[in-house]
């Protein structure tokens, strides 16, 4: 009886010839889901390498095994290994009489200012006092955009001094404004300072140096990279270069780099599938095995835990082309802290890992 089972389960060895066409199919599938071309390539290669030479029962199809392995890989890729509670950290900073500062950066037009406004809303809902620092002193209308949001948010929340705009108009040095804003917040007892910066292209050295200066000089508690879900192969290049600039152009021993990602415009990418979201879904799977390609130098994984506001909201709309999420986390190993799903203050969600993976794997 034993040998009978053995022969059944031992089955055949998986060889590269049998794997190749299945992996190629998977690769194209990922590309179609907007995963960057080279990352799709690396993902299927790592799946191939882990399966090569393994034995499979003769009942299971190679395609099924590849699918399962890829699903696991994607899940662990998107799953934070440690949760950091922004609200808890704000309270900890408060005990030190220090305002907690968050800097938003990214390329042009991705949604930095809008999602800064959404995060302000979320903080106000949690009884925080927020100072918005208008450090985009370049783009036309940037200051008025923040002022409009501030006024709207203030009207929504009692006590007009709970959210204040710190601005010095256009043309001034953003690093200096951020510095003064933080000092002002300390003086006036604000809990959080949100620093808006101008959009910039990752290859624009003078602008990348200016951003590094702002971050090095003010060492914000959290540096968030804002990227849009619409982006294709550029996602990787943007993140790598922002992170690298923050390292290279800073003259510090331990430069501040990107701590997390805000992925915006999730609502603009293709067909939506209703996803049933519950608290249980959000309790993320343990980070089983750090994939070999995840840089271990980025251990910090954040999530905006705690607030019922976020958790109770059903992340009900998910897109089919969620590949940018993979490209971005793959690149830096950084977690997606928030997901922007629209243009109103409520449209800020937590990434639902299982939903994203199933959207990625769906036909």
């Amino acid at each position: 009886v034993f040998s009978f089972f053995k022969s059944l389960t031992s089955g055949t060895t998986i060889n590269s010839e049998a794997l190749a066409p299945v992996l190629e199919q998977m690769r194209l599938h990922l590309c179609e889901k907007n995963v960057a071309q080279d990352i799709a390539q690396k993902l299927v290669e790592s799946v191939g390498a882990s399966l090569q030479g393994q034995t499979k029962s003769s009942f299971t199809r190679i395609a099924t095994i590849v699918r399962d392995t890829l699903t696991k890989t994607l899940t662990s890729l998107l799953t934070p290994n440690r949760r950091v509670d922004i609200l808890r950290d704000v309270i900890a900073a408060k005990a030190q009489k220090e305002p907690y500062s968050i800097c938003f950066c990214g390329v042009n037009g991705v949604g930095k200012s809008t999602n800064l406004a959404k995060i302000t809303y979320w903080l106000l809902q949690n009884d925080m006092r927020v100072l918005i620092a208008a450090c985009d002193t370049f783009r036309a209308g940037a200051v008025e955009q923040l002022r409009t949001h501030r006024n709207k948010l203030s009207a929504l929340h009692e006590g007009s001094d709970r959210v204040v705009l710190y601005e010095k108009g256009y043309g001034k040095d953003p690093a200096a404004i951020a510095h003064d804003a933080i000092a002002f917040a300390r003086e006036q007892g604000f809990d959080v300072v949100l620093i808006d910066t101008a959009g910039r292209m990752q290859d624009n050295e003078p602008l990348m140096r200016a951003l590094t200066k702002l971050i090095a000089m003010n060492t914000p508690n959290l540096v968030l990279f804002v990227g849009e879900a619409l982006v294709g192969n550029e996602a990787v290049d943007q993140l790598v270069k922002f992170n690298k600039a923050l390292q290279d152009f800073s003259h510090q021993d331990h430069p501040r780099t990107i701590d997390g990602i805000v992925l915006t415009k999730f609502d603009t990418i293709d067909d939506k599938v209703p996803v049933d979201d519950t608290r249980a879904n959000l309790s993320l799977l343990p980070f089983i095995s750090l994939l070999p390609f995840l840089p271990s130098s980025y251990p910090l994984v954040f999530s905006c835990c705690g607030p019922d506001f976020l958790f109770s909201r059903v992340f009900s709309l998910l897109s089919f082309q969620v590949g940018a999420a993979i490209s971005m986390t793959y690149t830096t190993g950084q977690p997606i802290v928030f997901v922007g799903t629209g243009q109103s203050y409520h449209d800020l969600k937590k990434l639902n890992v299982q939903a994203v993976v199933s959207a990625l794997m769906s036909a």
């Binding site: 179609e32 042009n108 036309a140 990752q202 294709g232 550029e234 609502d267």
Partner: protein, 306 residues
Amino acid sequence: MVLGDLGRRITGALRNMANATVIDEEVLGSLLNEISVALLESDVNVKLVAKLKKNIKSVIDFDEMAAGLNKRRIIQRAVFQELCSLIDPGKPIWQPTKGKSNVIMFVGLQGSGKTTTCTKLAHLYQSKGFKTSLVCADTFRAGAFDQLKQNATKARIPFYGSYTEADPVVIAAEGVERFKKEQFDIIIVDTSGRHKQEDSLFEEMLQVSNVTKPDNVIFVMDASIGQACEAQARAFSDKVPVGSVIVTKLDSHAKGGGALSAVAATGSAIAYLGTGEHLTDLEPFETKAFVSKLLGMGDIQGLISK
């Protein structure tokens, strides 16, 4: 220019083929694979890439090809013809008519660069001697009117907008009427960013289009856009008659392949490229010139002009 990277990759692949001693199906296969990877890395739509590959394969029949025939030339020609048809919609680029008011409406996804590009284009027309104006029909985005106002003021272009009127259709109609009365040659209407998933936003776009009766609708897209581009571009042009495409942010690292997919989806030619945040960072795009630049090598140019 960034799209040029793609051209280099493709000509490189063709050159590799030229170095092969025998041209057989295997050589063709690896050439097509190299080209496909280059296109996918540039964000060209996956389905378009597959189609291109299939079309090229279908015109090349190794069994029927006479031994004496130059297989290389046939393959090269097939590759280039497919690339050309990808980029060139075969439709001339819209030009304003002298002696009347030309209304141009800008549409596109959120943050693609419409407002910035509106002023750039207005500035370009103004420098060519057209009497040019701007209308801000974006009442949604915080600070939108301030943005257009500050840009227009800097470029010394008359503008129309409102801080109090909430209906973009009303503003668009009033603005266009005013500037038509004042006999402006060019009236550019900026609109809010929108996406196909939200019907009400698309309906609003249609209404703005209905009241302004644009002579040209320009679809503005960001060079870094990925696979979502094709579906969005198609949806925009299904709703309003998109006449030209402007690809912005080409000063980035982006290869702009999404743009090629947008051309295929809308059937409209790329008219300009945005290459920076400043007023003058706008370059005209000539499909024919671009294709020949993409091809690079003289002997190949001869192939496509046939």
